[in-house]
Symmetry: C2
Subunit: 333 residues, 2 copies
């Protein structure tokens, strides 16, 4: 492990992505998102993804020269074409459209098609909260979970995120994927030769399993059973049917180099409290609920742990494994 | 049990509600929603609720003369004040606003404040799907679940519903509440002296329990653990902070006569596929996903069972328990 300042990590990630073919704006936007994830302690979505993204850029699974653009717009609705590049620059454009359109219309929806992995869902909502708006983010991902009653992976783990700004202090930030547990937990169990609890996964024939290796060859189960499965279906339809993006089962895994351009989708919603009950009422309601929650001594404000870690990282940098630094330096060279 | 035609049941429910003090439009809208629930086989949200609603009207927990109105509007956003009446008339207005504003703006959000129990969440989205729009519904309810890590009930079971229209045939309809199981299942277990599985509920001290009676005195657990808890928080904030409605913990139970006017909240979102990737793309995507889902022989289209039951009920009526019919006739007399 070595400690790197965030700026140093940003430069390194940016150079590695640019070297692999990403345009300057795409490389910068992507690196910003990945470094922010590392700063928040979300290492699986941090610069550890650079080798994967660089691999996709090199074989043209992701188009480095892609210029995201507003393909269509009407009032509060905008469709952004990510043009088969990495997702982050397109998501920045989508969120910026959502903010300005929500200010004008009270609410806005930005969908993104022809996209790629968008990392930490809540990351994209930072500017929404900073603008004093309530925000929601949705995305699909390569198939990992069956439909309810099904025996084949169809839906992605399909994250849902939300931000609710506070008058003082960071926003309340909700961010979850719809599988019962993250696939990473199964990978850890498999590498340690441990069993996993029933209810986490199915084997490749769709039979419930406690064998971590069989689970990895099979599929994850949705959180809360039928409820997670229905929400995953809802997200697939929201981010694909409205935008024309590919479903999870049409996109090849991100974890291999070979494969198609994923062309998956994302969606962002921004809502202006000032257009509804008004900002005074909004802030009073938020603080009233938080006060009731925090009266229970073990309840935490969702998102504050990430935020605290990001604050520490901004001051003192983040620990990055030596092998990863070496890999990034080679890619950047 | 006796079989009643839907029209007959509508008249009976409408008369009972009007007799308890509901204005004609409120009685009609409420009866329509309850009869539709019975027709879909959702008896816990059907006319079995009439005695409860009538009780609330009689003691003025729900204001029978309330006239819901658009309190504020801007572009795609509208705030509807239910004026402390029953919820259904206000929700009809909210949905009608959402439809016309989504046609104009691409997307619309209608929030409802000063509201009451809104029954089956997906019911309200029927007109949205019929208008060719994608729809979402959210509502909170008197507190029934703790915040994550908490030991006191704070959030309602907070339903989420969605409709996705198809080119031919009824819409895909998703409708779920965020508790691991419905409280009704615990009531059945308690009445039969049976245990409940761990993970369904906590006792009144916030300790996990398998005792159904202790669970009824305690609280329900969220679906999927922390994920359901976070989604329940998201719904509370969406339907209350944006609208000024009361949180679940500020509203007294619906299952007693005594208590405050609940003043809870609802929210509806409508999105026009024509404003984004277009209707052709939208319908192609929906059918592509359904075909993939239905290739698995045990997968069903969400919402189709309800729809089939409603079709049967329209032809041959619904079975209503004799005691309930007697009760409705007494209320209507």
């Amino acid at each position: 492990m070595a400690k790197l300042a965030l700026g140093e990590l940003q430069t390194l990630a940016e150079q590695a992505l640019a070297k692999a073919g990403a345009g300057a704006a795409m490389a910068a936007a992507t690196a910003r998102a990945l470094v922010a994830a590392d700063a928040q302690g979300l290492v699986s979505h941090g610069v550890s993804r650079v080798p994967q993204y660089a691999g996709h850029l090199k074989i043209n699974r992701a188009v480095g020269s892609a210029q995201p653009k507003v393909a269509r717009a009407k009032g509060g609705a905008a469709l952004i074409d990510a043009a088969e590049g990495l997702a982050f620059l397109a998501c920045e454009l989508a969120v910026s459209e959502a903010i300005s359109r929500a200010r004008e219309n009270g609410i806005a929806f930005s969908g993104v098609c022809n996209s790629h992995h968008f990392g930490v869902a809540a990351y994209h909502l930072g500017p929404v909260a900073a603008a004093g708006l309530v925000g929601f983010a949705f995305g699909n991902s390569p198939s990992a979970m069956p439909a309810w009653g099904g025996k084949r992976a169809l839906f992605g783990t399909n994250p849902i995120a939300a931000v609710f700004p506070r008058r003082n202090g960071p926003p309340i930030t909700i961010d979850l994927s719809l599988s019962e547990v993250a696939r990473g937990k199964v990978m850890v169990a498999a590498s340690q030769g441990k069993q996993i609890p029933l209810g986490w996964a199915l084997d490749k024939n769709g039979v419930p399993t406690t064998d971590a290796k069989e689970a990895l060859a099979g599929m994850m189960l949705p959180a809360g059973g039928v409820k997670g499965a229905m929400l995953a279906l809802m997200v697939e339809l929201m981010v694909c049917a409205l935008t024309g993006a590919h479903f999870g089962f049409e996109a090849d895994s991100f974890f291999v180099n070979e494969g198609n351009r994923p062309q998956i989708g994302q969606a962002f919603i921004a809502i202006d409290p000032g257009a509804l009950a008004g900002n005074e009422v909004y802030f009073e309601r938020v603080e009233t609920l938080l006060a009731a929650m925090l009266a229970d001594p073990e309840v935490r404000v969702p998102g504050y742990r990430r935020n605290d870690l990001a604050g520490q990282a901004a001051e003192s940098g983040v620990e990055i494994p030596d092998t990863l630094i070496k890999q990034l330096r080679e890619l950047a060279a």
